[in-house]
Amino acid sequence: MATRKKRTPNAQNDSWVVVAADSVIDSQKKNSDPAFVKLRNPSTDAASLYMFGSGDDQLYEVKAFEEDFHSWFLGQTVQQDGKLLFVTPMDPLYLILPYLIKSGKEGKFQPVDQVFIDEEFPACSRLLNCTRSLASLHHVAEEKEVGSLKFHRYSRDRTLNWLKKKVERTVIALKKRNISVGEGVKSTTYVRVKPESDHHEEDYLRYAHGLISEYISEDLSKALLQHLQLPELTSPKDTEPPLKKRKLSDKPVEAGEDYTKFNSADFARKPPKKMSAAQKSLAKVDKTGMKPMSSFFSPKVKAEKN
């Protein structure tokens, strides 16, 4: 057998496969185009890729599905990079929040446009253009109106209440979608004294809390846990490595399944009396690549008429 070649990194990728919310393309019928932008990820504090819809009306999150050893056939082309990007609508408040918290440290009410100054991510000011941003700021900030001007001040209480609602919404979706939430805490040494059904509910709450925590700072995540009246787990096992992929298991993959059939009683069921002639069996077989077989055998092996 030929020796295996080393993998060469894909240097020149210029094509991406995306599954995007319909609003991304619907909005294109308006005047301006959607655009990928880099913004500060509220959980990691580093750059992540997001998207603004047409006219910045809507913010989208970009997530990449990527498994090793995958490529695409797209029409009559090959794309080496097997990633699949998901572009899903995102709540801009998650990205707005860190800026509000930072400016709120002084405890003053401020005009909101002065809050969004970030040299590293100048596009952050566009977050305010999103339709939902100004309309939902009251979930995370107190508002004050002076004349025609609006001022805002970060509110931790409001934020935690808002996040709690987020967790509750997420729990409903997890149940509806039948997503298994248990494994992560089952193996902890944490001793519980609550009835079974509560365990179940707690598993959902923790799982949803974990998901929401992907969009907030660690500090806020801990506060939210308290707000949800969930004790902090310290066992390292509550963040277990991801499930092993079943398909990579080395159990034999139906070796010889097709062949062992011939050992079984499969053929005994066929009536032995009127055994079909070659011509009849020919009519049944897969003739892929074997077109002329029938023409060859038919004149020699007479079919039995029955």
Partner: protein, 135 residues
């Protein structure tokens, strides 16, 4: 990273949007460019019950069709022209669209535990995490 200021514009397709068959292959093919997919691959695909079979490079594949989640469309984006400098904005264009894809496993029959099937949970969960909250 000075390119943080860069945005990547997404242009609509030129003229009528093109629909293409899309296959996610369980191997890495070191190639970007044309291939006789319909002549070699599609033509030899077999479709029985809920399982599709085909072979690629002598290896047996089993696959199934997956629809894009409700309210979602598949897009293929192509870089229009890479700018010379980091400061210039990049542009991609929607080159084709799809509503379903076929993913292939190496020898394993497709099932609901396949990672790509599970990944399709994401849009609905994202809606719960990101949808507006009542007052």
């Amino acid at each position: 990273m000075s390119c943080n200021s860069n945005v990547i514009r997404v242009l609509p397709p030129v003229g009528q949007e093109q629909r293409v068959p899309v296959h996610l292959m369980p191997c890495e093919i070191e190639h970007n460019g044309s291939a006789q997919v319909s002549e070699y691959f599609t033509a030899t695909m077999k479709d029985r019950k809920h399982e599709k079979t085909v072979s690629f490079r002598g290896r047996g594949l089993k696959g199934q069709e997956l629809s894009c989640p409700q309210g979602y469309t598949g897009l293929v984006l192509k870089e229009v022209n890479k700018p010379g400098s980091d400061q210039e904005d990049r542009t991609v264009r929607i080159s084709s669209v799809f509503n379903k894809l076929t993913y292939w496993n190496l020898e394993t029959p497709p099932n609901s535990d396949d990672t790509i099937v599970m990944a399709m949970d994401w849009p609905e969960l994202a809606e719960a995490i990101h949808g507006p909250v009542d007052d």
